[in-house]
Structure formats: structure tokens, C-alpha cells
Symmetry: C2
Subunit: 347 residues, 2 copies
């Protein structure tokens, strides 16, 4: 089959690779209908995260089960399924409590020796624990299929940030990061009942989507100016709940700076850089909590899926550019140069 590989920083290829097959009785093979490129794929693309030459890449996909191992009970060939960005056994204590990202048998798509999402098909370990079934009718609804793809990562990750930030009915929320995750954070905050949602961003197409998703205010500033602007908008206090969806020291510093005393920063931006950006003295004096991390998306799909299916929330606008599989290298370039927000891949 054809699949995306990464050979060195900025060197993404689409190549012939071995067809995936069931190797363990719990495996399934899924033919990919939709995949996409994630902001976090850019850390590998830019060389900030090491990869072995030729390693697969891509961790978001949905598709149709093509083959199921003897122990797979929940899925049969022909089933439409979505995969969260990590696989998990579905049976351990962590899976039982909804923290599938800590499953000792879990792993990330595209890790060495495993298929990535940006290819024609994927071998899925622990299919019963990992995959979630979608209504087969969705396969013929292009817009819906794209919206459902967001369940594999960005929607659940934005939701994790909103939960970590403690968004509740009536809260004031601020969102740092205007990428797909930040925008899904806006959507998740509105869904959880936030009354006011302040989106930080300077890219008009993105802040436009933020407004569509429920942002009530947009702050087109960064750093100290952004902190001052959010404080102005909130009577000097800051936001109860802050979603941090970037992962740099500056974004974390901004996130703490715009949080209200007693509030929380829900962080889902993959941390990069040598420091944390956290001033613990400030957080201590103001009782600002930090809660988040890699999102256990698998746990959230059952909760979010009905709202995507019935149109209560529609994350599909985060996908602004669409390519075929051979167009994936162009997609990386577009996301790296921020000419695309999030690239949809239709193999």
C-alpha cells in the first residue's frame, strides 16, 4: 500500500510499504477513509521530535474494518470506525478509569514498527479496546465524515483542555492558541456551558472560526498585551478557565497571566522548549491550578459522538485544506507555513 513516511526534518514522502495484516488475534486492519495532519506532527516535521528515517507518521484516522483477528468481538469487516490517537487494551485499570493514554499496552500510531494514520490502511492492535463504531450511514455524508474525524484527536483534546480548565455552566473561558485544538477548545467550552469565551489569536480566518464555534470575544495580541486585554475584558480578574493549546513557554506564561485567582489552566499543547514558562510563585499566591496533558480521547468519544452525529457541534470547519494521499507532503508545507489550519487527507 501507499503510506506517508518521514526521513529527515522537512522530508516527508509517500511510498510503497508492506500491506498491513492481522498479526495478533486482537488486531484489526482498517482501510482509511479520512486522515489528517496534526499540529503536533510538525514537531517531527521540523526536527524538534526525533524520528527514525522512514518511520510512518499520522495519528488521526477513520475508516472501514477490512479484516478482524479471531479475538476481535466488537467489530466485523465493513464496520465504519474511528480510532483515537493512541491504541489501548481496553482491559487495564487505566482504560477502565478512562485514562487510556496511560495503558501499559498502549502506543501511538506511527511509532517505530507501527502503521501511521496517513496511509491507505492501518493495523490496529487491541481493536476492541481502541476503535469506536460509527453509524455506517455516515460513510456517505462527506461533511459528517470530516466532522467525525475530529473525534480521533482535536475535538477530544480540546474537550480535555476544557475539562482540565474546569469549564462549567456560566464560566468565563480564555483560549490560548488558534490552531485546530484551540478552536475545538472553544467548541468544547461552549458545549459545557461557558457564558463568555475569549479567543486569543491574530489570524482572521481562524478567529472567524472561533466566533462560529462560540467565542464571544477575540483578543488579537500576545504576551503582556494579551494579558492586559483579557484582564480589561474581565473587570481586571482574568478568566476562571484557561485553555492552553500551544505548548510553548510563552503560551504557558500567557495562560497563567490571564487566569483568574482560584482558576485553572487546562493544558493540552505538547510541551516543548527547555523551560516550563510557569512562575510557581505566582500560581501559588493566586491558587491557579494546572491540569491536563495528553488527552485520553478514547474516553471522550462516546460522550462527544452523539453531539457530532446530531449536529449539536460541528468541528469540520477546522479542516480548511484537503489533499489526496500523494498531496500529504504539500499539506505539511502548508501547515508549517500556516497557510493551512488543518489538512484533511483522503487516501
Amino acid at each position: 500500500m501507499r503510506a506517508t513516511t518521514i526521513h529527515a526534518p522537512f522530508e516527508i514522502r509517500v511510498e510503497d510499504v508492506p500491506d498491513p495484516k492481522v498479526q495478533q488475534p486482537g488486531d484489526a486492519v482498517v482501510r482509511v477513509l479520512r486522515a489528517c495532519i496534526c499540529g503536533s506532527d510538525l514537531w517531527a516535521y521540523r526536527g524538534d521530535s526525533a524520528r527514525q528515517p522512514g518511520q510512518r507518521i499520522g495519528h488521526e484516522f477513520l475508516g472501514v474494518v477490512e479484516e478482524a483477528g479471531a479475538d476481535v468481538a466488537a467489530f466485523a469487516p465493513g464496520d465504519l470506525v474511528v480510532a483515537p490517537f493512541v491504541w489501548s487494551d481496553g482491559t487495564c485499570d487505566y482504560c477502565a478509569e478512562g485514562l487510556q493514554t496511560s495503558c501499559p499496552q498502549g502506543g501511538f500510531w506511527g511509532s517505530a514498527g507501527h502503521d501511521g494514520g496517513q496511509g491507505e490502511a492501518v493495523r490496529v492492535p487491541f481493536a476492541d479496546g481502541t476503535l469506536v463504531k460509527l453509524p455506517s450511514a455516515a460513510a456517505s455524508d462527506d461533511r459528517l465524515l470530516t466532522a467525525l474525524l475530529a473525534l480521533s484527536d482535536v475535538l477530544g483534546t480540546g474537550h480535555h483542555a476544557a475539562v482540565g480548565a474546569g469549564v462549567t455552566e456560566g464560566s468565563t473561558v480564555a483560549v490560548v492558541g488558534d490552531g485546530a485544538v484551540g478552536l475545538c477548545g472553544v467548541l468544547a467550552a461552549r458545549r459545557l456551558g461557558a457564558e463568555r469565551i475569549i479567543a486569543l489569536g491574530r489570524h482572521e480566518a481562524r478567529t472567524g472560526i472561533a466566533r462560529t464555534f462560540g467565542a464571544t470575544d477575540v483578543v488579537a495580541a500576545r504576551g503582556d498585551e494579551a494579558v492586559a486585554a483579557v484582564r480589561d475584558l474581565t473587570g481586571g480578574h482574568g478568566a476562571h478557565a484557561v485553555i492552553e493549546a500551544v505548548g510553548t513557554e510563552q503560551s504557558m506564561r500567557t495562560a497563567v497571566g490571564i487566569a483568574r485567582d482560584g482558576g485553572a489552566v487546562g493544558y493540552v499543547g505538547v510541551p516543548h522548549g527547555s523551560g516550563t514558562g510557569l512562575d510557581l510563585g505566582v500560581m501559588f499566591a493566586r491558587n491557579i491550578a494546572l491540569r491536563g496533558g495528553v488527552a485520553p480521547v478514547r474516553a471522550y468519544i462516546p460522550e462527544l459522538l452523539p453531539d457530532v452525529l446530531d449536529g449539536t457541534i460541528d468541528p469540520s470547519p477546522v479542516f480548511d485544506v484537503s489533499v489526496g494521499l500523494e498531496g500529504v507532503p504539500d499539506g505539511y508545507r502548508a501547515m508549517d507555513q500556516r497557510t493551512a489550519l488543518k489538512v484533511l487527507v483522503t487516501p
Copy 2:
């Protein structure tokens, strides 16, 4: 009156100072019956926190109202009261939501121009918002009076850490720090229903108190060894809830290291040192939350007071040395040299 002052690192004196008087109509003057020395006073004592020469010190006290301003509605002369370690107006949004430490009109005892707790009497601003009445019968019960003094800081601070760490019925808790706050964290965790409480400490008198307070296990190690020991005790997983009651980079690193994936570190140790000790990459991968800060003790006194009064919890064993007011300088030396756990002051 006589009161404790600090003139330079390691230079604590007891001196004649002006008698406190009602200055604002909301003030009360409280004659101190019991005060004490806090581990955090040692940062000033050691010169780690700057003080103006001659500044008062001490932030924990209980006593009898001697004089009340015209606007004081809740207290009258003769009332037995306990003061939390910050005063607060009792009327702002933060006070209303139980975060009195963020009250814009609040302040710390012993800050420049204000009385400290380690003296014969204290002028209390915003008496109605700050003080909590105690049953007058307690004044004649020496053990109870000492236990009630813990409500001014260490008991509420330990409780704040336990709440921040997410202690619930049945949790496994680990406590970093064998000072009075860490020990009160043990007591608070047991009160909140923790099933297993692992106290880290190497000082036998202190770990003995920890066991009395409810610790089920003691780990007499530090750093990587402590992490390994707690993991051994918890099937490799770590503790759901970690109380951090020290505030150094090493203690924070240990706290994160012994937390179970998906757990939380409730931190109340005043941060000191140049870094945070936090590895955000580890916290992100394992979804470990950080929640705590300066404890809004005023909010917790009404909840904790009945349990202290009826003996359900008795924090009095944290006071292991008692001095009169003139003995306060000796008390600082004893705490600095760790020959005393927490020094009670009876003016």
C-alpha cells in the same frame, strides 16, 4: 506591649512596641492567648524572604477580643476567636467564593505596618470578615486551645493540600514533608477518607506523629529512592493524591515522581528556589495535575472546627515545644535546627 520583631537574618527580638488600638471602625484588638512559629517564618529568619528591620513576625494566633470598632457586628469584647493567617474583608467576590487569600483588601499578619501574631495583642482589620468565634469554654481547656490554634494555618493548609490533591474516600495518598503542615495533611487525608496514607520522612518523632494521625506506611528515603519506595508500595503505579508540603525543587520533583498517572499534586509548600522542579513533559504524558497554593484557611475553619471541638481530629501533637513570649528567639533557633517540630507561644 511586648511583641516579636525581626531585624536581620537570625536576629529575632522581643521588644516593647506600641499597644494596638482600633484604627478603623471594622477593626478589633485581640489579646493573644496562643501563637506559634511556622516553618514559613524560617524563610524570613534565614534571610530567604526579605523583611524590613524591626518588622513584626508571626501569623498564627488565637485570643480574646479586647476592643471592637463601631462597625464590628459579629464580635464583642470577651469573645474567644481564632484568626486565619491572612485578614480579609469578608464581602468581596473572592471572600464570597472562599478564596479569602485573594481578597483585594486582605493582608498578612506581620506585613510592614501591621502587628504579627507573636506578640501580646494584634490589631485585626476587617474583624467581621477575618475572625472566627470559638466556644468560650475552650479557653480553659489547654489541650483543646492548642488544637484550635492549628486552625489558624497548618490544619487548614494541610486540608487545602489534601483537597488540591483530590483525596477522596478510598484514595491512596502520599505526603511529602514531615513538618507540621505535612502532618496535618496526613490528618486531613484520613478525615477525607483516604484508605492508604504513605508519609515520607526520616525523623522518627515526626513519622511517629504521622502514624498517630493516620499514616499507614512510612518511607524513610528521599529523591529517587523515595520514588522507588512509593512505587513499590503501590504496585508500581504511585499515589492518586500527593500532598507536597515543602516547597523545594527536590520535593516537587519527588511529588510528581510518586504520583499515579491521572493523579494530582496538592502543593502548599511555599515555593522557593530558582526553578519549579516540575518536568512538564512527564506531567503531560502522565496527566498529573498541580493544584494548590496559599491556603484560604478562613474558608475551611467552619468545616474543620466542629471536628476539632469534638475530638474527631486533634492536631495538637504538632506542637512539641512550648515557650513564653520572651522565649520566641529560642523557639526560632530550635525550629531552624529541627530540634523542635512546631513551637507554641503562650504570651
